[in-house]
Subunit: 326 residues, 2 copies
């Protein structure tokens, strides 16, 4: 099939860019050194390619854990997020480890029948995570409640886009000092953290939870990371006026939290529900197909039912985005 036969808007994944990204990460962080995060692509077909290189996965939602288990990718799933209802996790035929950062999330793991946890430690990003000095006590309580404590995790998400490498390394070391201090109290084999933005920088974790590297983001590309932008949204030009044109991709096909998408060779003016109005540098015609770069890949993928693997204009596979929802 040719991309021109696809209904638009449609997610396209460049096969060469994806293959190169997966190979580059596998070379940099082979095997268990990388625990790919599936929240970035929500697609088990893509995760199966990652599973050739890496034995475990990171997930953000119960639904993602369920879908990965159902796809036979449940050998070692880390739900790197807090969960108050873990019953669906305990029922899975998979190895599930869940993050906890409070007595309530500890109790939820026990009540849900989860057997393994990591202690989520706040390393500076104001989000989830227990204060480092309290991590040991939570681990003790978890073990007392019959849980296996596999170690710690901490996400330095606020450092992912620091442009200067030396500065990023300094801040990452400060964050990881907190995680290592917590780990000294907690124990366990896992020190999990990091992401695509710090995959070369973070030398302190035992595994990096990288997600964006597979499909890549405009923001990460600008930050000088070596991975290639593999994801675009295919759109059709549906209207041309004097001075602007309109493509059939809008707010419901694009993650907008990082702002407007990019159209090579054009200035994007604004997006509506199902439209992007843009000023092309060269004339375009009604019916033209164009490729739009979303500003943020993760929430873009969450809006689509499927993604098409392409080699140039040839569609070589179509994958269900089968990990959407909660």
């Amino acid at each position: 099939m040719n991309v021109h036969d696809l209904t638009t808007p449609a997610l396209l994944v460049d096969a060469h860019a994806l293959t190169a990204n997966l190979a580059d990460m596998a070379a940099a962080l082979p095997g268990p050194r990388c625990r790919p995060h599936v929240k970035a692509h929500k697609t088990t077909a893509l995760a199966k390619l990652q599973a050739r290189h890496h034995p475990g996965f990171t997930v953000a939602t119960v639904r993602e854990a369920e879908g990965m288990a159902a796809a036979g990718l449940g050998d070692d799933l880390l739900l790197a997020n807090e969960v108050l209802d873990a019953r669906r996790l305990g029922a899975l035929d998979a190895r599930i480890t869940v993050a906890i950062d409070s007595p309530e999330t500890l109790q939820a793991a026990v009540a849900g029948g989860v057997r393994e946890v990591v202690i989520d430690v706040n390393v500076g990003l104001p989000r989830c995570g227990i204060a480092p000095e309290r991590a040991g006590a939570l681990a003790d309580a978890a073990r007392a409640a019959g849980l296996e404590v596999r170690g710690v995790m901490g996400y330095e998400g606020h450092l992912m886009l620091v442009p200067d490498e030396a500065e990023k390394a300094k801040y990452t070391e400060e964050c990881m000092a907190k995680l290592l201090a917590a780990h000294a109290d907690v124990g366990g084999e896992l020190i999990s953290g990091g992401g695509t933005g710090t995959y070369r920088t973070n030398k302190w974790v035992t595994e990096v939870q990288a997600g964006s590297y597979a499909l890549m983001d405009t923001a990460y590309t600008k930050a000088g990371l070596p991975f290639r932008q593999a994801l675009t949204v295919l759109a059709t030009v549906i209207s041309v006026s004097e001075g602007w044109a309109v493509a059939d991709v809008g707010l419901k096909a694009l993650g907008m939290d990082h702002g407007n998408p990019t159209i090579p060779g054009a200035q994007v003016w604004f997006c509506s529900d199902e439209h992007t109005t843009f000023a092309p540098e060269q004339p375009v015609a009604v019916g033209d197909r164009i490729r739009v770069l979303p500003a943020h890949v993760d929430p873009t993928v969450a809006l689509h039912e499927r993604m098409h693997l392409v080699d140039g204009d040839e569609v070589i596979d179509t994958w269900a985005v089968d990990l959407r929802g909660w």
Copy 2:
């Protein structure tokens, strides 16, 4: 069922607010004076309530037309958007009218087996629509190609949030003068346009394409419109730290193009994929359920598989958001 039994994040629709909104619009623009736009809620169960008052509907995508037809709501569907592949429309067991603004979209309607069109006229919003002075010629070409031309449409979307009523009326009149001039050349019974923001202002159209009034938006509420905010996202507090807390609703549960959501009694700091970090004015506890107001309803709904109709904390119905995708 109680809302506390729902998996979060979950879309909630307040039954009283929804009922009042539908009744208020039906009183202001009874019968065919309003052609409700389903893109705002993408839910045929909700459209069935609107169909008690209004005979026709507006849709934005081919998928929405298909879903409405399948739900028995296809008596008079206006696809108020340009389409280059109309084959799925022509195959529907429904009355389909499609907007055209170019020879290419005219040909697509013919090729797809669509029989009725409206001429989409640009009235000032730089998006789709033919220049008013060229509308008559396009209508002639459409009739020559065997199509029925039902009239014109024009959307003054750039005026929806003008705060001053007199100013909005003046600008709307200017826009509608263009649409009426085009209509004089085009003919037909339909002069379609407007939206929730101009439903009281626009006295020139024969029907208003209002969508947001049913569930309502933060932005429209601030603009002084009388409808009530019916839609919230139910979330669970999953982590509490000194100075902030985290709810399990993020970029994949919220339309972000209008910015961060609102949490009553709290300051929202930022959203991540599956988290909102906020500073509550009163202490919250892990496990608390909170209601989050998305900044933009339409793209929020597009991220959810279902919405729950609630009366206080009681879930009285659950509706599939069955018009998602393309």
